[in-house]
Every structure is written in structure tokens, then in C-alpha cells.
């Protein structure tokens, strides 16, 4: 991919500024996921509520990015690597927007969970998973900023680990519910939280795939390995 400056320098400024918005959006989403996990861990209503409120800023950034990309396409008619840059900016922004929604949902469910007694051991597993997903998201955004297709490929390869954690957690949650039906409500919320975190992992993978497209001009052809087998689970 070409990185020489454009003859028309305003074109470079437009491309830089829209990418800077994505980087800022990425930072906000990472922070939101981190805070949401912390709020869950610390049973912290105030922190959970602030994550819910702050999602609006992430949504607004996505809107601005889409508007800027539309202008850039109309006014600059980008080609080749420039075109792929604009297309990937829009995709990455949409991935990030979804991640922001999941963080917000985590905050919401945390405030509900906080109204009943903690469910032994389970939230530790959820936190471990959140940690792994945060690392994935961070690495995907890092690969995006550095245009590093190898780093992106490794993010993609690691997604199955998160799927596996999720599958294990799914069985753990089931066991809890079977053993003590009084925990069912809390377990349901925890399960949604786990599923949402797993989805954030998928979006991190989506961002990594955009990095590969951006750098090489083609999306990876192979199906990535799936570690989540819960769709086939039948219970105890």
C-alpha cells in the first residue's frame, strides 16, 4: 500500500482526520469496555451508569465518521489504497459502535446484578474473559493504526480462545442454575454479559480482517477457527 503524500495536500489532511476520528473512537470503546468490566467486578453502580451515559459520544463519532467518509468519496474520489482506507474506516467505525453498545449493555446489566447477592466464582470467569477481549480489541486497533497485517492475523487466530472461554463459562452458568434455581435471574444476566463480551471479541476480529483487507487488498480467504460449541449444547 502506498504511503507517499498526495500532490493535493488537502486530500492527505482529509484522510488523516477521518482516521484520527477512528483512533479516538477506538480509545473511547476500549475505555468503555474496561470500565464496564471494572464496574461488574466492583459492583459499582456509579461507574456502570457512567459507561451507559458515555455511549452517546461513541455513537456521535460514528455518525461524524460516516458523514466525513461520504464527503471524502464525493469530493476526492479515492482510488486503490485510499479507497480501501475509506471503506475500512467505515467498517471499523461500525464495529466499534457495536462494541460501544455492548459496553453500555454490560453497564445496564451490572446495575441489575448489583441488586442481588453475588454469584460465587462466576463473575471472576467473566472478568477473565473481559480481560482477554480487551487485549484482542487493543491489538486489533494497534494493528489498524500500524497497518500491521501480521498482528491482525494473530488477532484473528486468537479469537477461538475467547470462544472457548465462553463455551466453558456457558457450561459453568448452566451448572449453577441447575444446582440452585434461585440464581437463575442473575445467571441469565451474567450469561448475556458473557455473550456480549464474546461478541466484542468478534468485532475485534472484524477490525483485524479490515486491516488485512486494507493492507493486502483482499479479505482473508480461509474460515477462521470457531471455538464456540454452545450452539450444539443440550444441557446436563
Amino acid at each position: 500500500m502506498q504511503t507517499d503524500p498526495h500532490i493535493l495536500r488537502a486530500f492527505d489532511r482529509d484522510l488523516h482526520s477521518v482516521q484520527a476520528l477512528v483512533v479516538r473512537m477506538g480509545a473511547l470503546v476500549e475505555e468503555a469496555i474496561g470500565k464496564a468490566a471494572q464496574a461488574l467486578h466492583g459492583r459499582d453502580d456509579a461507574l456502570a451508569n457512567s459507561v451507559r451515559r458515555e455511549d452517546a459520544a461513541i455513537d456521535a463519532l460514528e455518525e461524524q465518521i460516516n458523514a466525513d467518509c461520504a464527503r471524502l468519496i464525493a469530493l476526492r474520489q479515492p482510488n486503490a489504497g485510499d479507497l480501501r482506507t475509506v471503506l475500512s474506516v467505515m467498517k471499523v467505525a461500525s464495529n466499534l459502535e457495536r462494541c460501544g453498545d455492548y459496553a453500555k449493555n454490560l453497564g445496564k446489566r451490572t446495575t441489575v446484578l448489583n441488586q442481588s447477592a453475588p454469584i460465587g466464582g462466576l463473575s471472576a470467569s467473566v472478568l477473565r474473559m473481559a480481560g482477554a477481549v480487551q487485549q484482542q480489541l487493543h491489538a486489533a486497533l494497534d494493528a489498524y493504526i500500524k497497518r500491521d497485517a501480521d498482528l491482525a492475523a494473530s488477532v484473528r487466530a486468537r479469537d477461538s480462545e475467547i470462544d472457548q472461554i465462553y463455551s466453558a463459562l456457558f457450561r459453568e452458568i448452566l451448572t449453577h442454575m441447575l444446582e440452585d434455581p434461585r440464581t437463575i435471574t442473575g445467571c441469565m444476566h451474567l450469561h448475556f454479559i458473557a455473550k456480549n463480551i464474546e461478541r466484542v471479541g468478534d468485532h475485534a476480529t472484524g477490525i483485524a480482517e479490515q486491516v488485512i483487507y486494507l493492507v493486502t487488498g483482499a479479505l482473508p480467504a480461509d474460515q477462521r477457527p470457531k471455538g464456540d460449541t454452545t450452539a450444539f449444547e443440550t444441557g446436563a
Binding site: 493535493l8 480501501r84 483482499a218 479479505l219
Partner: protein
């Protein structure tokens, strides 16, 4: 679909209409074209792009031996049309130019009537036996060039009285009146407004049903809009040749990418 390629617009054939092998052109000591090898497809619009002076017009002029008229030009290598070497001694360049028509940058109608502009080629090539046949050829060419409706009531007024866009379509009608198989266009829209440009582009797209069209253009967007194949020239070399959608989303040579994205390469 894994690589998000722009869906390739129909190319009906993989048949090569023109084959260039090892084509070199010198103007005196200037080495203008260096070992060009390419297959130009039948019923396909091929765009030649590249910075000024890279040899696009030179190569275009090789395809109908217009360089024969340039005293300092020396052409070597082979150019085959339908498998026949057009530089063979037995080939009559005048006949060749009826088969390989050309449209230039500036509309250049003869200072004659609209009718005579179109009738000129068929007349000198003895393509008709009588006035009725000639009328028919003129009407057909003007229809193909999308000029008939505007010109049919003023066939005897001078071609130079038409608007720029109409004049260019008249030149296209003149070029296609001799029933060519290949149409060469050297920046045919550079003197036209956007509406006339769109009309000529639409015409080019229709002409591809009957001809191979080769168009030199400085507008990347025009090349992208109108062609199915794109060739990028740089300093006398044919650097990259391929499907237009691929060239504009994912070119393989960094020189191509620099050029089409407006970079300081």
C-alpha cells in the same frame, strides 16, 4: 466474494483483437516506447492512462500506423490485428485506417456539411454504389454516434456550426462510417463539458458491442467509468495492464497506485 472486487463489467470475450509484441518506438534519439507487449480484447473498452509524455499517444498511433506520417519515428516489434501483422509490406495504411478508426482530442470536423463529413470516408473507400446507399451509411453512422436526432434536419449545414459535444460526436460518426473494427480515441472528451462527456461515454459503452475501443484519457474517473481493461504507461513502459476494477481498487505496481491516487511517487 472474498476480495470485495468491484464486480467486473461484462467482457463478452477473451479473444484478442490486437496483439502487440516487443513494440519499440524511437523519435530520433528519443526512446518513446520500450518493449510493449499487450493483448487488447475484442468488444472491450481499453483505457490507456499515465502521465503526459509516457507514450500513450505514441502507442495509440502505432495501432493504425499514424506514426508512418512522422518522419523521425521508427517503430519496431510486431502489431497483429486478428493475427495479421499490420506493418507487413502488403498492408495498405489507408485501408488499415478505415479498419482502425481514430478520434482526436479536439473535435476536427472538415469545413464541409454534416453530411459530407460522414460521407467522406465511405466515398473515398468506394464503399457505396449510389446516393441511396451513401444516405443509408450516413444515417446509420449518425444514429450510432447518437447525433441523428439533432442533425437530421440540418444535414447540409456546416459541421463546424455544431456545439463542441456535437462536433465530437460528428467526428465519431465520421470514424465509424467506414465500418471500422477498432476505434482509437485520444482524449476525446478533454474539450467537452460534463453533459457532452457523459453522452460520449455512453456512446463508447454502446460502441463496444461492435468494436474494440481504445481510449487515452487523463481523467482517472473516466477510465474507471468507461473501460473494462486499463493499461498504465510510465516513461515509455507499459507498467500494468488488467481489469479496470482491480486496477482502481488494488493495483499491483506502486507506480500505478501513486499515479491513480494522485501521489508524489
Amino acid at each position: 466474494m472474498n476480495d470485495m472486487r468491484i464486480v467486473e463489467r461484462d467482457v463478452n470475450t477473451q479473444k484478442a483483437k490486437i496483439t502487440a509484441r516487443g513494440v519499440q518506438v524511437h523519435y530520433g534519439t528519443t526512446h518513446a516506447l520500450k518493449d510493449v507487449n499487450v493483448d487488447i480484447l475484442a468488444n472491450t473498452v481499453t483505457a490507456f492512462i499515465g502521465p503526459s509524455g509516457c507514450g500513450k499517444s505514441t502507442f495509440l498511433r502505432c495501432l493504425n500506423r499514424m506514426n508512418d506520417t512522422v518522419a523521425s519515428a521508427r517503430v519496431s516489434g510486431e502489431i497483429l490485428i486478428d493475427g495479421e501483422n499490420i506493418y507487413d509490406k502488403r498492408v495498405d495504411p489507408v485501408q488499415l485506417r478505415a479498419k482502425v478508426g481514430m478520434v482526436f482530442q479536439k473535435p476536427n470536423p472538415f469545413p464541409k456539411s454534416i453530411y459530407d463529413n460522414v460521407a467522406y470516408g465511405p466515398k473515398i473507400h468506394g464503399m457505396t454504389r449510389n446516393k441511396a446507399e451513401l444516405d443509408e451509411i450516413v444515417e446509420k453512422a449518425l444514429r450510432k454516434a447518437a447525433l441523428w436526432n439533432e442533425a437530421k434536419d440540418r444535414l447540409n449545414s456546416p459541421g463546424t456550426g455544431l456545439s463542441g459535444g456535437q462536433q465530437q460526436r460528428l467526428c465519431i460518426a465520421r470514424a465509424i462510417a467506414t465500418a471500422p473494427e477498432v476505434l482509437l480515441m485520444d482524449e476525446p472528451c478533454s474539450a467537452l463539458d460534463p453533459i457532452a462527456t457523459a453522452q460520449v461515454e455512453e456512446l463508447i459503452d454502446e460502441l463496444r458491442a461492435s468494436f474494440s475501443v481504445v481510449i487515452v484519457t487523463h481523467s482517472m474517473q473516466q477510465a474507471a467509468r468507461v473501460s473494462q481493461r486499463t493499461a498504465f504507461f510510465h516513461l515509455g513502459n507499459l507498467v500494468e495492464y488488467g481489469e479496470t476494477g482491480t486496477i482502481f481498487t488494488n493495483p499491483s505496481d506502486p507506480r500505478t497506485e501513486s499515479y491513480i491516487s494522485g501521489r508524489i511517487g
